[in-house]
Symmetry: C2
């Protein structure tokens, strides 16, 4: 659908619009993606966008997938060289948070992509190794299970605890109440939190409270 022959009047409008969307959302988040401005930057009439996207929301979703892929790449970069599953999980957590802090606009849009669980595992949301952030979490936990440091039955719970904790922290510190805290303090707290979560996971989690 977006093969080379689709390059027609324009070069590849679909890709150009997504690129414009990334520019627009980088500083001001998802709501800054305005269809008319994106087409303007691509040197094309507003209505032309409708040949490639059903409506503005479809464009935003496409940009979101691109942002999520950017996030996956950031995480992969952090994980580079790590082979120990514990180190992998730790790098995943800090990479997730780092991306939210360094690219708050993209983190905001990426959440749109995540909003649909199916998209989270789509190829467009993946990094160089072809894994989306959520799949990267699954991978890291699978590594812990293989190395005998995590009860397989507890893996889903561990995913929940880790994802919730890291995502909450990322949200609170990038858009939320804690967004004005000095960066070095936030980095320190992130390090603490991720260390805390990783350590929790490699211990047997408590059973649900009755």
């Amino acid at each position: 659908m977006t093969d080379a022959r689709a390059a027609f009047h324009h070069g590849d409008l679909r890709a150009a619009l997504i690129a414009s969307g990334l520019e627009l959302s980088r500083t001001a988040g998802a709501e800054a993606i305005v269809l008319r401005e994106a087409t303007r930057r691509a040197g094309v009439t507003a209505r032309a966008a409708y040949r490639h996207f059903a409506d503005r929301d479809a464009l935003v979703r496409a940009v979101a997938q691109a942002a999520l892929a950017e996030m996956a790449r950031t995480i992969e970069r952090r994980q580079q060289g790590a082979t120990d599953p514990v180190a992998m999980l730790h790098a995943l957590g800090t990479g997730y948070i780092q991306f939210a802090l360094d690219e708050p606009g993209w983190f905001d849009v990426a959440f749109f992509a995540m909003a649909d669980m199916l998209n989270t595992t789509a190829a467009e949301s993946a990094g160089a190794t072809g894994r989306s952030p959520y799949q990267q979490l699954e991978d890291a936990l699978a590594g812990l299970v293989r190395s005998g440091r995590l009860d397989p039955a507890q893996a889903p719970n561990a995913a929940l605890v880790c994802w919730s904790g890291v995502h909450g922290f990322a949200t609170l510190t990038s858009h939320g109440p804690l967004r004005d805290r000095p960066r070095d303090q936030v980095d320190q707290q992130a390090e603490y939190l991720v260390g805390y979560l990783v350590q929790s996971v490699v211990t047997i989690p408590p059973p649900p409270v009755a």
Copy 2:
């Protein structure tokens, strides 16, 4: 500024606009707060809103504070009758999540109010007991410290871990990737997560990883 004598041509337009804003945002979140529609519902010209709010954003923030207060009341209701600090903390966590699930629109707006840490402690964001959700967290942890179940030096870290975990879970399950999960399953996971966090807090947390 909003005393009874301010009731002039209209009854109390400021309050009426906030009420309309709560209606509008209840189902569709913050972006559904459209100034013209709010004034329309108050039976007044669009421009009249500017006598009470600098711009749309100011209205949204005011609505956000009201939503945050609603959240505080939900939590208070959950805590009713609990005296044990552990039970208080547990009820806080589940109340926070319950509100996000039952009122996703208001939870979305409330985050706008939280976006400024000062607002989080403003009187308009408080429940019947005059405490905002963040203050309720501080109170619960202070109770744990008083009862000797939490090292005072670890209280800030505990706040961070709890808030991040609960907020992340609430976000993921109300607007995020997990929003389509069946409600009873989500409730079960919420119970697990909150129990997990509470138990973590009453244990000595691990030191930061070097």
